[in-house]
């Protein structure tokens, strides 16, 4: 087995096995060790190795926000970071925010406000909105729009998305008072 982990050229025309190493990731509260190459993005690690396919790959270049996840509570693009850079970090994906039987307030608001059409951008939108709530810096519609601008929606569901996020921002604001 250990031979498989070397990068020596393979004989018989087979591609050389890639050099992987164990990487310890804590995803949605569960720590797991994945066998990963250094060049595996966090996004690919989540989707292809941890089999959490809720997080989506849109552009793979930081330009769309579909891959947004929370790392230690802060939203980042998982396509522009390497999995190996996140040992000891706490990673939360859409699967960790709520379940179909127990939706998070944001997930429920997205349903209530028809905040999606195809749904491809939605996990990124919701993780980003959760990051926005954690930051606590957006209050008005103009502020929410600006601080949600890292998430594009090709279906143009922006009106519903804004309504959904605004509703949760407002209700959290009320609870704090």
């Amino acid at each position: 087995m250990s031979q498989l982990l070397t990068s020596a050229p393979a004989s018989g025309g087979l591609p050389a096995p890639v050099p992987t190493s164990p990487v310890r990731l804590t995803i949605n509260g569960q720590t797991q060790t994945l066998q990963l190459a250094p060049w595996t993005s966090l996004l690919d690690a989540l989707r292809e190795y941890a089999h959490l396919t809720g997080t989506k790959k849109g552009c793979d270049h930081g330009q769309c926000g579909a891959c947004t996840v929370l790392v230690n509570g802060r939203r980042i693009n998982s396509c522009l970071t390497l999995a190996v850079m996140h040992e000891d970090d706490d990673i939360t994906t859409i699967e960790g925010l709520g379940t179909p039987d127990n939706l998070s307030p944001l997930q429920q608001a997205f349903v209530d406000h028809d905040a999606f059409q195809c749904g491809y951008c939605t996990p990124g939108q919701i993780c980003s909105a959760q990051g926005l709530l954690n930051e606590g810096r957006a209050h008005s519609e103009a502020e929410i729009k600006e601080l949600m601008s890292g998430n594009l929606c090709r279906c143009g569901a922006y009106v519903g998305i804004l309504d959904a996020v605004k509703e949760v921002v407002d209700s959290e604001g009320r609870q704090e008072k």
Binding site: P19, W39, S41, R74, L80, M85, R137, A142
Partner: protein
């Protein structure tokens, strides 16, 4: 991507040693520019030294009244820092005008200074580009150059430095502290980035293996009269076509000191000290602003699809100076300017 090796540095000395020990290696901060370039095969380091978790993330007062911004502090933490908001609002607004919340959360201050141009041809390895492959030619001259520069360009390269943060820094004039195989040194911000000349492959004056450790801001922050105006193809999440950072000190209606820097127009954040001299002692009037703006773009050269930037820059300078003189802009958690 392609195969490479990886390590995480524990302290500055370890990072510098690790980098020196690996040919063709690179530091990685947030990765938001480097990993993108690696995916496009524009850059292919054989080894990455992760510096994001080095203990350089503090933002702290300096004994001379200035403020030290750690190189690995994120762009978000820097923009939202209470000291930055209160004392250097132009920096707060410039950072928040750039990229997206997700990107700013990952991006580090060191990485922001070191980010590379967004010239289309630099990213497209199928085309000639002197910056990517010295001597191959410049596809942007005579090609699509809407995003390219109008000031300080050369016949070898007309690329721009794309950062917003660095435009505010150019106006604030910090020093960049670096640590390398030959020890530590400080570089004036003005001397950090360079013009393309006949070596466009060099974006800045760092030497091999040097690591940025902090940005040291001087005391003067122009907190009362400042502006960061960013003009782009859409209101958010787009690079600047032209941006302007202004800092003024006023005595009544008279400008007693001025800082003026432009983004999106040159290979480096474009501070114009001769324009600053022209502003000094002058009344804050439309006439003054118009004269100074005309002076800044007097030697600008368009290359076809970016000709519009000359007029855009001229008008943006007038507007930013007016905003700064009137004290219109305030620090905040969001950038809502330029709309």
């Amino acid at each position: 991507m392609y195969p490479f090796t990886y390590s995480r540095a524990t302290d500055v000395a370890d990072a510098v040693r690790d980098k020196a020990g690996h040919d063709g290696s690179a530091y990685v901060g947030g990765g938001t520019n480097l990993i993108d370039l690696m995916k496009m095969n524009v850059e292919q380091p054989a080894h990455l030294v992760n510096v994001a978790k080095l203990p350089l993330s503090k933002i702290e007062d300096l004994p001379n009244g200035g403020l030290r911004l750690g190189a690995t502090a994120t762009n978000s933490d820097t923009a939202w820092n209470e000291q930055v908001k209160a004392r250097y609002p132009v920096l707060n607004q410039a950072i928040l005008a750039g990229a997206s919340p997700q990107l700013r959360n990952a991006a580090t201050n060191g990485g922001n200074l070191m980010q590379r141009t967004r010239c289309y041809y630099f990213y497209d390895i199928a085309t000639p580009c002197n910056k990517r492959e010295p001597g191959s030619g410049c596809s942007a001259i005579g090609g699509f150059n809407r995003v390219c520069g109008i000031l300080g360009t050369s016949e070898a390269c007309i690329a721009t430095h794309p950062s917003d943060m660095c435009v505010a820094l150019a106006a604030l004039a910090p020093t960049v502290r670096v640590s390398g195989p030959h020890g530590e040194r400080s570089i004036a911000f003005e001397d950090f980035h360079r013009l393309p000349g006949d070596q466009p492959e060099l974006d800045n004056t760092l030497t091999e293996g040097e690591l940025i450790t902090s940005l040291d801001l001087p005391e003067k922050g122009f907190a009362k009269h400042f502006a960061y105006l960013k003009l782009r193809d859409r209101h958010s999440y787009a690079f600047a076509l032209v941006s302007v950072a202004v800092g003024l000190e006023m005595d009544g209606d008279t400008i007693t000191e001025a800082r003026l820097a432009l983004g999106g127009v040159a290979h480096k954040p474009w501070r114009d000290q001769s324009a600053e001299q022209l502003l000094k002692g002058q009344p804050a009037t439309a006439e003054t602003f118009g004269r100074v703006a005309a002076h800044v773009v007097a030697n600008a050269v368009g290359r076809g699809s970016n000709d519009f930037k000359i007029e855009l820059a001229r008008r943006a300078i007038v507007r930013a100076l007016k905003q700064a003189a009137e004290g219109q802009q305030v620090a905040g958690d969001v950038y809502l300017g330029g709309q």
